[in-house]
């Protein structure tokens, strides 16, 4: 179902503006609150944070062990700001296991390490299908997972947030941590892409 065919976003925009203007008049909202949101999520929070975590795990086996044992504490080493994760669990892709993350009930997502989720992650098609036919969904994303692999779907139903530690590309052994981080994509950390 298209989000915009029947109900143009402009109607939602008007409704939001109506509520905004009333709240401003009542002194409950400041004029610059929207700009603060835009700056926060465009500049300070995003998948570049998660990519740094993944790259360090690839380069530093002791950090990787800490990350997989207690993701929340391991990520604190980076001092990310602007998004809270109460408990972060990092799940590792291996030759035997592929992991993918979803929230079927709403759209829970590890904001602190990945920023705000893409639209498709929040849409009914992904939320309904990934727990039932993940291999078909992943194939549509261009990802083929061997039928001999275990496919673990993590449905984020409580306040624990999940992030995938992708397998390191085989040609990147001698690459620096910074260069590795640049190769890590948001989709790989959700589990819908391979690197």
């Amino acid at each position: 179902m298209s989000e915009h065919e029947n109900h143009p976003a402009s109607q939602q925009s008007i409704r939001a503006e109506a509520i905004e203007s009333l709240l401003i008049e009542k002194g409950l909202l400041s004029e610059d609150a929207v700009d603060e949101v835009i700056v926060q999520y465009n500049e300070r929070v995003g998948p570049m944070n998660g990519a740094k975590v993944v790259a360090r795990a690839w380069k530093d086996p002791a950090f990787k062990l800490r990350l997989l044992t207690d993701g929340t504490r391991a990520v604190e080493e980076f001092e990310f700001t602007g998004g809270q994760v109460e408990k972060l669990v990092v799940v590792e892709n291996t030759p035997a296991v592929h992991n993918v993350v979803v929230c079927t009930l709403c759209s829970c997502y590890p904001w602190a390490v990945l920023g705000l989720p893409p639209k498709w992650y929040k849409d009914p098609a992904y939320r309904s299908r990934i727990v039932r036919e993940p291999r078909r969904v992943l194939a549509e994303f261009g990802v083929q997972i061997s039928s001999s692999k275990e496919l673990r779907v993590w449905d984020s139903s409580a306040e624990i947030r999940y992030m995938v530690l992708p397998e390191m590309p085989s040609d990147s052994e001698s690459t620096s941590e910074e260069e590795l981080a640049a190769r890590v994509t948001r989709d790989a950390m959700i589990g819908v892409a391979l690197l």
Binding site: E36, S128, R129, D155, A158, E159
Partner: protein, 228 residues
């Protein structure tokens, strides 16, 4: 509640549509809704995340599917602001008409006349509440999820109800959304990650090697099959 939000396993939605180079916000109004959520909290009309999730679950189900993520948030925010008496739906509608709204456009909000009152705010910034009580289940236990639905907020999805799975992790105590969303207290419970096989969830047609892991509160689990 058995709402439209409970999408796991529903069929017929078709391909997952992705955008190349998707912006963080598609339009300024999406960020505006974000700011409205914060203002709703400051106004005392939104006390916790569970209450917000339930407010979104209570919007018009057709709007839930067609208004998009920030449209759902907008419906939830309007529910809460109206229910708390901060704004009336009439004054919102009047202002929207002044701004050029189409009066036939289906508004998603469905505020109720006698809403729950969440009369407390948590002192903690998180929902982790370590418990002195011992967890009923242990890692490795085979358990069955509760089989019936509830009318209020819950984080037990329909596709898990009545299914058997095994506990793979124990996370100590967490605020219970089923209670906290309605202002009935935090009532923390032990939380577990439970693994359900594709065969158990979807039958013989399941894809091979599928295992769904999901976090479930202790009261969602009705028996310990490994002890019987």
């Amino acid at each position: 509640m058995d709402g439209i939000h409970d999408l796991g396993g529903k069929q017929g939605f078709g391909r997952v549509l992705r955008e190349d180079n998707e912006p963080v916000f598609h339009d300024r109004w999406e960020a505006k809704v974000f700011a409205l959520v914060r203002a709703t909290g400051s106004a005392g009309a939104l006390m916790n995340t569970d209450q917000f999730r339930h407010a979104i679950e209570r919007i018009d189900p057709v709007g839930y599917l067609s208004h998009g993520y920030y449209g759902r948030w907008l419906g939830g925010v309007e529910n809460l602001l109206v229910e708390a008496g901060v704004l009336s739906q009439k004054e919102i509608a009047t202002r929207a008409l002044e701004l050029g709204a189409d009066p036939t456009w289906p508004v998603a909000a469905r505020p109720v006349a006698q809403p729950d009152v969440v009369g407390y705010e948590s002192e903690a910034s998180d929902s982790i509440r370590p418990l002195d009580t011992k967890p009923v289940f242990r890692v490795g236990d085979l358990v069955q999820a509760r089989g019936v639905s509830t009318t209020g907020h819950t984080r037990l999805p329909a596709y898990i109800r009545g299914r058997k799975g095994s506990i793979t992790a124990w996370h100590n105590g967490w605020v219970l959304p089923d209670s906290n969303a309605h202002g009935r207290g935090e009532n923390p419970e032990h939380l577990y990650t439970v693994a359900f096989t594709g065969l158990e969830l979807w039958g013989e047609d399941s894809e091979p090697g599928l295992v769904v892991h999901i976090d479930l509160f202790e009261s969602y689990l009705i028996q310990n099959l490994s002890k019987s």
